[in-house]
């Protein structure tokens, strides 16, 4: 079992930091302090953090903050960022309007 899965591990209490109000996720406007607190609330994986705080769930889909959030979570857990599984990649990879997402091209158009 790796350290991230070992939920019995004590990571200590949340200690406020001087840069907790630093904005990390630019789209959803989530701060470093919120991310650190979430870890102490039991959100230890990138997927859990995403669902809990919506970091990386905005328009840019984590393009800018993904690596930053990972670094913060890893530090809080006392593991290397490489040990943290990145959040799930799924369709659509880029922001897209729902009416386009639902607008399947006619087969005839795709076939030249």
């Amino acid at each position: 079992m790796n350290k991230v899965n070992d939920r019995s591990r004590d990571i200590g209490p949340f200690v406020p930091g001087p840069d907790d109000d630093m904005l990390i996720c630019r789209c959803e406007e989530i701060t470093k302090g919120e991310i650190r607190k979430a870890v102490h609330d039991g959100m230890w994986t990138m997927t859990e953090i995403r669902r809990y705080l919506r970091t990386g769930m905005g328009l840019c889909q984590g393009q800018t903050c993904g690596k930053l959030v990972k670094g913060i979570v890893a530090r809080e857990l006392g593991v290397s960022p490489a040990e943290l599984e990145p959040a799930t990649s799924r369709v659509p990879m880029r922001p897209i309007e729902m009416y386009i997402f639902a607008n399947e091209a006619k087969e005839a158009d795709v076939h030249e």
């Binding site: 630019r26 406007e29 328009l59 840019c60 393009q63 800018t64 922001p95």
Partner: protein, 108 residues
């Protein structure tokens, strides 16, 4: 402020489409057809593209290649348009985006 590069030492003369007019928050402006809306705004000295939904903080161009979505504005009534990769067209109505609206927060 002269922000257009007329002649570049390596790339030579900057070639652009025809000069056209558009509006920014109702104000008449000119730019070149086909260049990104953000480039025309930058050349006109506009830095603020939107104010964020939660904290109402200003944002502008950040990545300029359509990834970060910080430069989104309300264009022809459609919010969240990435101005750094959307070509400028004659008569476009470009507006500062407040949250996801073109209406300032005190009017929302």
């Amino acid at each position: 402020m002269d922000t257009r590069i007329a002649v570049h030492p390596i790339l030579g003369e900057t070639t652009k489409g025809r000069e056209i007019s558009f509006t920014f928050d109702g104000k008449e402006m000119t730019g070149y057809e086909g260049e990104p809306i953000a480039a025309a705004l930058k050349a006109a000295g506009v830095m603020i593209h939107r104010y964020t939904k939660k904290e109402h903080k200003p944002r502008g161009i950040f990545c300029a290649i359509g990834r970060c979505t910080d430069c989104v504005m309300v264009v022809d009534g459609v919010p969240n348009v990435r101005t750094c990769i959307t070509p400028l067209k004659e008569g476009m109505d470009v507006r500062t985006q407040y949250g996801v609206s073109a209406e300032p927060f005190d009017k929302q």
